[in-house]
Structure formats: structure tokens, C-alpha cells
């Protein structure tokens, strides 16, 4: 049984114009998207801005209801890691409270929470002293680690990562991606990994779907899609990756 089954998802947003905010048409963000993700897979969703990948992520997570289609998620607990490390942590909460929020919502006891917090700081490689601090006292990469810690603590079966490294420096990107891989190896959860960065997707994912204009234009094992793309748009995307190689 698959972790995620999406059938024919569609979603439109109304475009409001003018002072009185009248509806002037609608934007079709998702146009009949279907995909399935197997248990334990790292599935990559790649595309440029406006292709609908973030919208699909939100629909899968259940925070955005689709206009049509069905989403079947076999996970009892899902989690998310967002792009913006500045806005994904509540600036008024201490790190310990941020990390523990999921557990508190599940009704865990104070003692159990404390034990888990201890373990998680080791996993995300932050000192115990970080627990009493506030988000603004940390760098972007550290905040992202806190976000990952928060995601892992509730023992989710499925995690959606929406551009988790796009706002980070390249050396930090690698650390965070390695952490995500590490976490997955240890706990075996399934990932839906959303990014516009083809190289990041190639590094992380087993299977890949390329999105454009609200549709999936190509899908398949990462190795195959990258070496032998069948869709012209995929080919165009791949050709624009700039390798770090001196120009001849």
C-alpha cells in the first residue's frame, strides 16, 4: 500500500482586481495532478516558480482543500519543513517550546517531553543550551535544524519538505541535506521533497516529478529522468543547470 495516493487534484485561486476586490477570473494552480508515493521513498517535486508544487504540497498536507480530486495519505502523523527559517519558527517561543509543541498537542507528559528534547538536540547537533533561547539568536541553518527537530519529534511517517534549503548558503545547504538524509535512514519516514533546485533534487530523491503550469509533465526514477528526459521542458530545465566547471 502506498504512503500517498493523489488522484486528479485540481485547485484554482480567484484573481481579485480593483478597489472592490471583484473576481476577474481565476488562476489554475493545479490542473488534474495525480501521483503516488511509496512507503519509505524520497519523492522529489521539481519545477520553477508558479508551477504549483508548493500548492500541491499544501493540499497533500491537508492545509489547503482541493477543488477536485482525492488525497489518500496512509500516515497517521505528518510533518512539514518549510523554506523560510525566519518565519517557520514562532519568534516569541523558546526553542524548547517550539520543539515540544507537537508532542504537547499529542498529549505527552512533561517528563516524556523532556527526555525527548534531550535526545533531539543530539540528533540535530545543537547544544542543550539552545533549548532556552529564542529563534532570533540563531543563524538560518541552525533554525532550519530546529525546524527539522520539531518535525522529527512527533515520530511522523510522512514529511513534506518545501524548499528546505533554498534560503541557505551553499555550505550550509549540504549540512542540512545530509541531516535530512540521516534522519530518514534512522527513522524510515517517507519524504515529499519540493524544490526548484534541480541539483538538490538529484542529491536527495529516488523518484522525481517535474511540474509546469499546474501539471506533471514527467515522472520517473531520478536517475532515468536526469540522464534521459523524455519531455522537452525537462530537457530545457536540465540544460540550464550550470555545472561548476571552467568555461572552455
Amino acid at each position: 500500500m502506498n504512503m500517498l495516493e493523489c488522484r486528479n487534484i485540481s485547485k484554482s485561486f480567484p484573481i481579485k482586481r480593483g478597489y472592490l476586490q471583484e473576481e476577474a477570473g481565476s488562476l489554475k494552480a493545479l490542473d488534474g495532478v495525480s501521483l503516488s508515493i511509496g512507503k519509505g521513498e524520497v519523492f522529489g517535486l521539481v519545477g520553477e516558480s508558479g508551477c504549483g508544487k508548493t500548492t500541491l504540497g499544501k493540499v497533500v498536507l491537508g492545509i489547503l482543500p482541493p477543488d477536485g480530486g482525492t488525497v489518500e495519505l496512509a500516515a497517521k502523523r505528518t510533518q512539514v519543513v518549510f523554506q523560510d527559517p525566519f518565519n517557520s519558527l514562532d519568534p516569541r517561543m523558546r526553542v524548547s517550546d517550539i520543539l515540544a509543541e507537537g508532542l504537547a498537542l499529542q498529549g505527552a507528559s512533561g517528563g516524556a517531553i523532556r527526555k525527548k528534547l534531550d535526545d533531539i538536540t543530539d540528533l540535530i547537533r545543537l547544544p542543550k543550551s539552545a533549548l532556552t533561547k529564542y529563534p532570533h539568536q540563531f543563524s538560518g541553518g541552525e533554525r532550519q535544524r530546529i525546524a527539522i527537530g520539531r518535525a522529527v519529534l512527533t515520530d511522523p511517517e510522512f514529511i513534506v519538505c518545501d524548499e528546505p534549503v533554498s534560503s541557505l548558503d551553499v555550505t550550509i545547504q549540504l549540512q542540512i541535506l545530509r541531516l535530512l538524509k540521516d534522519v530518514r535512514e534512522r527513522f524510515g519516514m517517507t519524504y515529499l521533497f519540493i524544490s526548484h533546485d534541480l541539483r538538490v533534487i538529484r542529491f536527495m530523491c529516488d523518484r522525481v516529478a517535474v511540474m509546469r503550469g499546474g501539471r506533471i509533465v514527467e515522472e520517473g526514477p531520478a536517475a532515468r529522468v536526469y540522464s534521459n528526459p523524455s519531455d522537452p521542458y525537462t530537457r530545457q530545465l536540465l540544460s540550464s543547470i550550470l555545472e561548476v566547471r571552467p568555461k572552455t
Binding site: 520553477e48 548558503d169 551553499v170 571552467p246
Partner: protein, 264 residues
């Protein structure tokens, strides 16, 4: 590529006055841009690369300030120049293209009006002629339907078109040096490729010297003949791009390259 130096930066220092003390954002930076070459500055966020670029045209605002250093352009030190001669240089001798096309344009004026305004700021021509020149450059940057775009407002255009328009605006007065600060970072990857192609084409045609700032080693390796690596306000390594990429001398450069290459 030998040839005389169009820009010489010596010991540039820029500081920021913050509540917790003075931060040295640019800490003694020196480099040269040779006439006709494309010189890149690569670094991560906080390395000081953008501030370096902004200080050449003295575009630093408080709480930042240029502490010391010289920026000699065509024999004249811009740091010592008065406001009038600086204004004559900005947009004409040296032009700049910024990262965020959305904020570079004033949303209440049409794109064409703003490009023409750049013409009028430096050339003694009438409105009609300025419009013609503006249109010519909009076409030169391969904007389809240039006349329509001329009359459009910034929000009506896509990111790629806006960036092309910004490049056009930077070129209308035939600058000798073009400074580009992360010009493609905010753009989609397919558009990025197109813009870089455009820049290469323009560079050959107009025999432009280019100073290219980016965090992206891939872009730098494609666009630049020589490169300087910046880290925490200092230049760590300088050299021909192919040399720096194949045999970096400094540990930091190596670390940077390894991270980039590890992603494949």
C-alpha cells in the same frame, strides 16, 4: 588578458554602526578589473560582496559607511569625487543592475518612462529622442513587443522581462563598466539561462567590462574570466576562473567548491 585597468579598488573598508558595536562588513578589499574582462566576486551571504559593489558608486546608506579605501575608475578616484561628478558617473560611465527587478522599478511609472528617464539624465536630448533610444535598447535586450512593454507598468511584466528592462536601462548611456549584483538569483532557472546568454552577447557587442557579484559558483564559472572569493569581508583568493576552480589555493575556496560539487 592584459590591458589597462578600468577599475582599481584598493583597501576598501565599509563598516556598520550597530547597537552592539561597529561591524567591519568589508575589511580591506583590493582587486582590479581589466578593461574588457568579466570579473566575478563570489561569496556567501554576509561575505560583504554586495556592499563592495555598492560602495564603488558610493551607494552605501547609514548605518553603513565607507571608512577608507580608493576606487579608481579611468584614473579618477571615486571615493574622493564630489557628488556632482559621481552623479555623472552613475548610470553613464559605470552602470549597475540589481538583484530584485521588482524593486528596481518605480511602480507608478511605466517601464518605458523610466528607461527614457535614464537617457535624459545623462544625454542632452529631447523627450522624443529619449523615447527612441529607450525603445532601441528594449529591443536590443530581446524584449518581444518592445513598444507594448514600453507602455506597461512594472507589475504587468514577468521577472525575466523586468530584468531585461533593467539591463536595458543600465546600457542606454553606453557605460564602460557594468556592475551586476546577483542579477539572476531571483529568476527561474530557465530564465536565468536566457539572461546570462543576453549578458554574454551584450558584452561582446559593446566591449563592456563587467563586475559580476554572485553566491552561485555555477553562474560565475560560466560568466567570468577572473574571480575573487570573498569571506567575512575579505578577499580570500583571486585568480583566473579556471585556475581557481581546478586548483584552489585556499582552504575556504576548497570548502566552498566541495559543497557545491557534492550536490552534483
Amino acid at each position: 588578458m592584459t590591458g589597462d585597468k578600468i577599475l582599481q579598488i584598493r583597501d576598501l573598508r565599509v563598516s556598520f554602526d550597530t547597537p552592539s558595536g561597529i561591524a567591519d562588513a568589508v575589511d580591506g578589499v583590493s582587486f582590479d578589473v581589466r578593461r574588457g574582462e568579466s570579473f566575478g566576486i563570489v561569496g556567501q551571504s554576509g561575505s560583504g560582496k554586495t556592499l563592495t559593489a555598492l560602495s564603488i558608486l558610493k551607494l552605501i546608506t547609514p548605518p553603513g559607511r565607507i571608512v577608507s579605501g580608493s576606487a579608481v575608475f579611468n584614473g579618477e578616484d571615486l571615493m574622493a569625487a564630489d557628488e556632482d561628478s559621481l552623479r555623472r558617473t552613475r548610470g553613464a560611465g559605470i552602470s549597475m543592475v540589481f538583484q530584485e527587478p521588482a524593486t528596481a522599478f518605480n511602480p507608478v511609472f511605466t517601464v518605458g518612462y523610466q528607461v527614457a528617464e535614464a537617457v535624459r539624465a545623462h544625454q542632452a536630448v529631447d523627450g522624443r529622442k529619449a523615447k527612441d533610444i529607450a525603445l532601441e535598447f528594449l529591443k536590443r535586450v530581446h524584449i518581444a513587443e518592445a513598444l507594448k512593454v514600453y507602455h506597461d507598468y512594472p507589475h504587468q511584466l514577468s521577472g525575466g522581462t523586468k530584468q531585461r528592462a533593467m539591463i536595458a536601462m543600465a546600457l542606454v548611456n553606453s557605460p564602460e563598466l557594468l556592475i551586476l549584483d546577483e542579477p539572476t538569483t531571483a529568476l527561474d532557472v530557465t530564465i536565468q539561462a536566457q539572461i546570462l546568454d543576453l549578458l554574454e552577447e551584450i558584452r561582446k557587442e559593446a566591449r563592456l567590462s563587467i563586475l559580476f557579484i554572485s553566491h552561485d559558483f555555477g553562474v560565475i564559472s560560466r560568466m567570468c574570466d577572473r574571480v575573487a572569493v570573498m569571506h567575512k569581508g575579505r578577499i580570500v583568493e583571486t585568480g583566473a576562473t579556471k585556475d581557481v576552480l581546478s586548483s584552489p589555493e585556499e582552504d575556504y575556496t576548497l570548502e566552498l567548491l566541495e559543497s557545491v560539487r557534492a550536490l552534483g
